[in-house]
């Protein structure tokens, strides 16, 4: 997830993990509607990841063909459509399924099952392998797409790959903290790290470290004072970001 936030900042689309996590909400809603109407067993997590990845690719397509304006319009459109699907399905399905859908809106990391953790670990592992293998390509196209193309890189392929990784991160985040708190857990640590990083490597490592550290600290605080863990983590990451920006502006201008 932290890598997704870093990549989103590098590519200049910091809102994308939030959008794709809302698309995950739409995907989960559709999966649950199918379960409800046709009694076909479907795993909501898989659908969450598929929908978040697809919406991210759609945004990438719009951006490549229509520039920044089309990209932003696609971001807003995909988010609106997903929320419309969520609201409609939520009104149709019975209460127990409604509760299941809502866990992707505001989730609780402690409610994750062993199967959830195994599935997420596998997805994260594949994502990390892709990132390690194509780190230089992804960095190059984020920095200078035209120069990268001139060097013979398939910029189109790597741009879609980048959006795919960010989209998958958004889907995973929807499961772990819920769509509403994705900005806090995925974007806030990356935004904090960006303020104080002097290199890409440090940016990635710092984002990862902050996500883990603030995640566990938030969890510890939540358990200590009986707060919802996702809320505590979100509050903590947001507070750390705001404090970092204030300190940087006061002491390092």
């Amino acid at each position: 997830m932290s890598i997704g936030g870093t990549l989103a900042f590098m590519r200049g689309v910091p809102y994308l993990p939030g959008e794709s996590s809302h698309a995950a909400l739409g995907g989960v809603s559709l999966a649950i509607l199918i379960v409800h109407l046709f009694s076909i067993p479907m795993d909501p997590l898989i659908w969450a990841v598929i929908f978040s990845a697809l919406s991210s690719l759609l945004v990438a397509y719009a951006g490549r063909h229509g520039g920044a304006e089309a990209l932003n319009a696609a971001l807003a459109g995909a988010m609106a459509l997903s929320l419309a699907v969520y609201a409609t399905v939520r009104a149709i399905v019975p209460a127990e399924l409604r509760a299941l859908i809502d866990t992707y809106l505001v989730s609780d990391i402690l409610f994750m099952t062993t199967l959830d953790i195994m599935q997420l670990s596998l997805i994260v592992l594949v994502g990390l392998l892709i990132l390690v293998a194509f780190y230089h390509e992804l960095m190059y196209i984020c920095f200078d797409a035209e120069g990268a193309e001139a060097m013979g890189l398939n910029v189109k392929f790597f741009d879609y790959l980048l959006f795919l990784l960010i989209g998958v991160a958004g889907g995973i985040a929807a499961k772990t903290v819920g769509s509403l708190l994705v900005f806090a857990l995925v974007i806030a640590p990356a935004a904090t790290a960006r303020e104080i990083s002097t290199s890409i490597n440090r940016f990635i490592l710092l984002t990862f470290s902050l996500t883990v550290l603030l995640g566990f600290t938030g969890l510890f605080i939540a358990l200590s004072i009986d707060w919802p863990p996702s809320g505590a983590i979100a509050l903590l990451t947001s507070a750390v970001y705001i404090i970092t920006v204030i300190i940087k502006n006061i002491f390092y201008r």
């Binding site: 230089h136 190059y140 984020c142 200078d144 120069g147 001139a150 060097m151 290199s199």
Partner: protein
């Protein structure tokens, strides 16, 4: 003798004809400056040399290679310095990352820089007198210093041809003079330089050839042969003035780069 040759080349983008009937030949090494108004096809010409655009018809030969059919060879032979405006400047990348990009991208996984790669990157930075910035953040440098780093990246692979797209854009005159000196130094190492520019004056004196382009070649030749009012009026209309200067005439056009 090695040469760069275009023969009756036509190039279209999305169905729009951008270049037509482009025919010229230069020996290697050469310093060719390409001048023309917005939309004249200058960048398209560079992209055609890189093999990024396939001509509708005609033939391109870069030191014996066709860019469309020999992309790997072209990548080794040609360095490219894109317009600085297209660079994402707020990424936390260091100067060493930028210069090594051009080297590492041609290596196989896991793409760790070897001591030789680092020495090549440092040598490229030395050429543009930016070795001191090795560990600095790219975004902290001035516009002129960033341009010098991008030139270093373009030559880090030791190309035989260096293509530069508007390297003097938003660069002050003193830095322009430095960059010209560096380009002169690079050419002396047997490197051909093709430079696209709106303002020919800073580089006319060191250009072997100047090409005036406006979708087709209006003129190509030595600076004093090309920088004449009757030639430039074909592109810029009456909105062009020529002042006698040494060693080359000074050209003032109403064309500005936006």
């Amino acid at each position: 003798m090695e040469y760069i040759k275009f023969t009756d080349v036509y190039v279209s983008i999305n169905g729009n004809n951008i270049l037509r009937n482009i025919t010229f030949s230069t020996v290697h090494p050469t310093f060719l400056s390409i001048m023309g108004p917005n939309g004249a096809g200058k960048t398209t010409l560079l992209k055609t040399m890189l093999g990024l655009l396939k001509p509708d018809r005609g033939k391109v030969e870069i030191l014996g290679y066709n860019p469309v059919y020999n992309p790997i060879s072209i990548r080794r032979l040609v360095g490219y310095v894109p317009q600085k405006d297209y660079i994402t400047r707020d990424l936390p990348v260091k100067v060493k990352d930028v210069v090594l990009m051009g080297i590492l991208i041609n290596k196989s996984l896991p793409r760790y820089p070897s001591p030789k790669d680092i020495e090549n990157a440092l040598e490229a930075l030395r050429t543009v007198e930016m070795e001191w910035a090795w560990d600095k953040r790219f975004s902290q440098l001035s516009g002129g210093e960033q341009q010098r780093v991008l030139i270093a990246r373009g030559i880090a692979n030791k190309p035989k041809i260096l293509l530069l797209d508007e390297p003097f854009n938003k660069i002050d005159m003193s830095t322009q003079a430095h960059i010209i000196e560096f380009l002169h130094r690079i050419k002396s190492r047997n490197v051909s330089i093709f430079i696209v520019t709106h303002d020919i004056n800073p580089i006319s004196a060191i250009s072997d050839l100047i090409m005036i382009l406006n979708k087709e070649i209006i003129a190509i030749g030595k600076p004093r042969e090309v920088l004449r009012k009757e030639v430039l009026m074909k592109v810029y209309g009456s909105d062009v003035r020529i002042f006698d200067g040494h060693p080359c005439p000074i050209v003032v056009t109403g064309d500005t780069h936006v």
